[in-house]
Symmetry: C2
């Protein structure tokens, strides 16, 4: 097994992880805590807009790692699919204004529509926005979500499916985000990470943990070490496949949001060194 | 798409589906409603024992389709693995006493243990009890459970994994149970059902639905038609692969258990004809 991480030079935290903080407090606290990267959720720049938010982040010595999130291309009507493509072009523009080199795509399913149809529409939607992404020099990462979201939030449920989209679209601007929470159960994960590495598609790596029991499908993720995911082993696979980027802590947890966020940020740092 | 089912000759209901009823009421009500098959959960014969329960069922003109459930072979200590093998031999004896031709195996994961290790132990555990199953003329079905259970309840999370176990063990006494709730999201499902058909491994078919939103990981399944699973399409695949057995309604739902069970049983019959 690879050794633990020894410093915070690759630590990135998602704004949603410490959701109770506003963007100014988030940036100030992350910077003071020695966090080096930040992934911005779109709601975090509702007040200031993307450009001023990006400036705020850089003024505090933080690097914007990615913008969460675009996607949601699947829709049963052509009008709604066209609107999703427009929304994603807009999201790419926001990423450029923010200074984010990457947009994470959550590839929503359309309830009531066959998963195969949604998957096709997702691939077509990404193809439609890729020229815009290339022009803006913003990369796009397909993030497969856990199969428990296949009914609504995401029709791309394995890294293999995400990798197939990358192979089909064949562009340096499309890749994958590997999130241990969504993918750890998959017996093909190691091989698929290797294949994504060979394709040059490993754009992002997200960590959290799977609690036992998990009491909510959306907002009960664990801090690294609170659950059963072999996080360090998966980091070994990802790094063995050539990934050297930020390690992003993305945790949705009503339980953790309810506590003191400054203390929680310290726990994240401890868990990052001891469990990632 | 294949036509709807026209009668209840293949309808089986799991005792747990109408959990508020005791076994005597369950059997009486199912029989009166025209249900033809019953899958018995082990807690249902705690009072009478398996032999008397089997007699009760037959006296009401019902056929025992399967016994739920054995399994849980994965364990970090050799002692606990040996105990699990003993428990499963006992479960096979209970099935024989009950008159159940099949035991469904829930292949529990061991929390904190690598999934690959659990999967190996599951395969070894089944291999150890297969001679006992063959002697008792009781078949065993590996039921892959949804990946959201990979941390504790089940380390076999795709039909492909279950099929690999069958291929490795190579015995007429081992096969699979395909449950739409656990497998519907998988883009390999159709192919894997075909492969299981060719192997002679399609032993059981379970139906329910995936609700949007799902608010509990264990006890929020839907009645067929209440969710997003393409149940009839999956039945078409299963039957196209040669399956002609009972169609088993297995629903865990606090919401549905809280209502009038006789009315619920009628809804099950309606949903069986209109949505399966």
């Amino acid at each position: 097994m690879i050794p633990p991480l020894m410093d915070f030079s690759r630590l990135c935290v998602h704004t949603v992880t410490t959701k109770p903080w506003g963007i100014e407090e988030t940036v100030r606290r992350y910077s003071a805590a020695g966090v080096k990267g930040i992934t911005i959720w779109r709601e975090a720049f509702l007040d200031k807009g993307p450009a001023a938010t990006g400036q705020l982040v850089r003024d505090h010595g933080l690097k914007v790692v990615s913008l969460c999130r675009g996607g949601f291309f699947a829709a049963s009507s052509a009008n709604r699919r066209a609107k999703a493509i427009d929304d994603n072009r807009h999201c790419i523009d926001e990423a450029a204004a923010l200074g984010a080199p990457l947009v994470v795509l959550v590839c929503g399913a359309e309830p009531g529509q066959a998963l195969g149809d949604s998957r096709k529409q997702i691939s077509d939607g990404i193809a439609a926005v890729l020229p815009h992404a290339a022009a803006a020099k913003v990369r796009l990462a397909v993030e497969p979500l856990h199969p428990m979201y296949a009914g609504d939030r995401c029709a791309i449920n394995t890294l293999g499916q995400a990798r197939e989209i990358c192979g089909r679209l064949n562009s340096p601007w499309i890749g994958v985000a590997v999130d241990v929470y969504h993918t750890w159960w998959d017996d093909r994960l190691r091989d698929e990470i290797g294949a994504c590495g060979r394709g040059g598609w490993l754009f992002a790596f997200h960590v959290s943990d799977w609690r036992l029991p998990t009491v909510d499908l959306l907002e009960d993720r664990g801090l690294m070490g609170e659950g059963c995911i072999p996080i360090r082993e998966i980091r070994e696979w990802v790094e063995g496949a050539g990934f050297t980027g930020f390690i992003e802590v993305e945790i949705f947890s009503r339980r953790l949001w309810a506590g003191d966020q400054a203390q929680y940020l310290e726990s994240i740092k401890d868990a990052y060194l001891s469990r990632v």
